[in-house]
Amino acid sequence: MVTGMGVISPLGQSSAAFFENLLAGVSGVRRLPDEFRKRLSVTVAAPAAFDAVRHFSESRLRILDRVSQFAIVAAGQALSDSRLELAAEDREGIGVHLGTGMGGAQTTDEGYATFYGRGSDRVRPYTVLMSMNNAPASWIALEHGLGGPNITYSTACSSSAVAVGEAYRAIRSGEAEVMFAGGSEAPLTQGTLKAWDALRTLAIEDPEDPARSCKPFAKDRTGLVLGEGAAVLLLESLDHAQKRGAPIRGEIGGYGLCTDCNHITRPSVAGQARAMRLALADAAATPADINYINAHGTGTLQNDAVETQAIKEVFGDRARRIPVSATKSMHGHLLGAAGAMELVATLLAVRRSAIPPTINLRLPDPDCDLDYVRDRSRERVDIGLALSNSFAFGGTNAVLVARAMEPAREIV
């Protein structure tokens, strides 16, 4: 059961604000400030309007990279959303599974800029502690005294889908009753953006409107737009949630995980299809049960065509009748936080019977011929079961199944 959700995103600082903006088709993509992009080719990104000083004292900010700040605040939101009283729980049994691709990228960047760039030896004493990939998960445990397994998954763009999937498995197997799971990413530093520039995979700014630069499934798509943020969910066993009368926000119904093992970046139809089938089997569902897919939909030439093909392979004749949306068109690609963020979008879509659109899809691509929910959200849709796809560089494919609680089992 998902009983709490927390979100820091380019589209707002709560799960509610995030979803409202998704439904409204709001873009969080912006042109980067002139000074910041002076030596970059990339000109757009999706930053989160996050006021760190509101949440942390100056001395704490000296030890918390932005990626940990996001994670701590999102986990705090998830906890309060769940109304779980931690003091009454066996906290040694509660774990944290978090995903991140780049970890404390800003700290790493600053350390190198100081040492190599400015030729100074004034590298900050907490550089290691701030940049290590497991810092965000560790801070959540420290903040709330959570003594269960604390694991950081780093499988690039599927990191947090894997983190949530593994936490779901831990609960299903009875290893844990309560878990925090999600992802955090703060990659909008000059060094990180330059590295992505070099890969020639970032979107070219739309000449009319920078906010329209990410165009998943469109003929004129030019690449992905990097974003930042965190999404953390509180997962509980049904038994635990019912005993305490928890608010049920939705349910993870299944999880599929596999690896392409054919190329370090090139996506594979077979691999993506296999992950979707594994998720369906895990949920004891058939293709006929799925009524919405939150696509990986990055806006790159390769992914969107391959993902379209993979969906057709799994869903056959039904593929064209299933609404598929790429919310990355609005919040950008949050890398290690993307899977959890999009799972939140999927869970809320199921719960609210409302499907967020794919924006900026003006020119259809003959190779991308599904129902992408163009431009406008679709309301009053009985979804029941939905998929959230995450496919990564390195080849790790993770698919999560989101399900609404059956009314009879729902408490709040």
Partner: protein
Amino acid sequence: MTTLQRLQDLLVKRFDLERKDLDPAASLEQLGLDSMGTIDLMFQVEDEFGVTFPRDANALKTVQDVVNCIDCLLADPAAVDSDRGPVP
């Protein structure tokens, strides 16, 4: 301004501490500065005073210990780096 006053200013400004707690005899540990916090303090002091702590600098237990150490370093030309300014 004395070294103690400058150090107290730094502790108030950068470590979220209250001046009334910063008696020279106050223990760093009781002020919330454990071994890691002390490393942070040394880094901040290096910027503020333009000095460099030697690699074997330790045994800083109280506010007065830090003051003594700073005064000692300031008196040693080899430990003073006049080019150093605060890290932006």
